[in-house]
């Protein structure tokens, strides 16, 4: 097995999850209504839980333990797409980002459930139920905000226009992708992109919205990030780095 390619794939998965989980947790106490505050925070916990499992798979392959991987790496070592590191913005932006992210994750997890690396296939099957709910939640918000008022529609359209080029960065490929596909670790990114768009388009169109015709914004999978990731990691890693030897 090409272990380097497997690890690169696992770092993408884990880093996407831990960073978007942290970003979405910023809504805790600030959600638009109490019920949504609780729902969004709970989903953020789900994402961080998934990250922990992906990091555990890396640990089994000889990497540091999950806490070290999440809290003791520099931004350049992270392989998350830039989409997940952008500030939470207004509610429309967080809804648009989460919807796009969950659509892609739905497609990706279905593909990963057939991965040739069994521990990864098992993890993907385990996450399917939670992910089904996340996507249901996202679809509902898109449908509602898209058709509630002219203001909500305009805000959501602006959010989709901003988020979509970054969302396409979720499919960014590196030198590792040839091996990822050849080893049967995951279906090719181009296929996942095609399937994801087929899932996203009818929902966006059905809500009276459009997707911009814009080029993908990439870099994250190669460790090139926005300044927002540095700020996020400073915040997320502060407590751990204060005393890395502490036991919890």
């Amino acid at each position: 097995m090409n272990e380097a390619a497997l690890k690169e794939l696992l770092f993408r998965l884990a880093d996407d999850e831990v960073v978007i989980g942290h970003r979405n947790a910023e809504w805790t106490g600030h959600g638009p209504i109490l019920e949504e505050d609780i729902a969004f925070s709970s989903m953020a916990q789900d994402e961080i839980g998934h990250a922990q499992i992906y990091y555990s798979l890396l640990h089994e392959l000889g990497e540091a333990d999950p806490d070290q991987l999440a809290f003791n790496r520099a931004s350049a070592d992270f392989r998350c797409a830039q989409l997940v590191e952008l500030p939470k913005g207004d509610w429309a932006f967080s809804v648009a980002r989460q919807f796009l992210y969950d659509a892609v994750e739905t497609v990706r997890l279905a593909a990963l459930s057939h991965s040739s690396y069994q521990p990864l296939a098992q993890a993907a099957r385990k996450f399917a139920g939670e992910e089904k709910y996340h996507f249901m939640h996202g679809k509902s918000w898109i449908a509602n905000l898209g058709q509630a008022t002219p203001e909500s529609r305009a805000k959501l359209q602006a959010a989709l226009d901003q988020a979509f080029p970054y969302a396409q960065g979720l499919f960014e490929m590196t030198d590792a992708d040839a091996a990822i596909v050849a080893e049967g670790l995951q279906a090719p990114e181009v296929e996942l992109k095609k399937e994801s768009l087929a899932l996203i388009m009818p929902i966006v169109t059905g809500a009276g919205l459009t997707l911009p015709d814009a080029a993908p914004i990439e870099g994250g999978r190669r460790g090139r990030h926005t300044e927002h990731l540095v700020a996020l990691l400073n915040d997320m890693q502060l407590v751990f780095r204060t005393d890395p030897e502490a036991t919890w």
Partner: protein, 108 residues
């Protein structure tokens, strides 16, 4: 000012298939679909759950608390309840006897 508050939906939770749905609380939501989405995280994130119902609170027809006295019993109606029957003692005695026999089979 427009009313920006969403409607209230009552939430009913089912622990296992075949069991009754139990009222567990309510959520605010703009429509039934969203009510189900929000109810899931409020009421099924800890307890086991196989199914949720949401019902618009305004669709529920309730009696008036002013009429609460109609539920009171003017005379003893314990005969309507299982514990009101003398047979209860007989059943208990029989159960105790059977239990004793189960525990001490050598006495037979």
């Amino acid at each position: 000012m427009p009313d920006t508050q969403w409607e209230v939906y009552e939430v009913f939770h089912q622990k296992a298939r075949g069991e009754q749905h139990v009222h567990v609380g309510s959520v605010h939501a703009p429509n039934p679909e969203m009510a189900l989405v929000l109810a899931k995280e409020q009421y099924a994130r800890r307890m086991a759950c196989v199914n949720l119902w949401v019902v618009k609170a305004s669709d529920i027809h309730a009696s008036e608390y002013a009429d609460q006295d109609m539920f009171a019993h003017a005379t003893d109606k314990s005969y309507r309840e299982a514990y009101g029957y003398k047979v209860v003692k007989k059943v208990r005695d029989k159960e105790t006897r059977e239990l004793k026999e189960l525990r001490e089979p050598e006495d037979e």
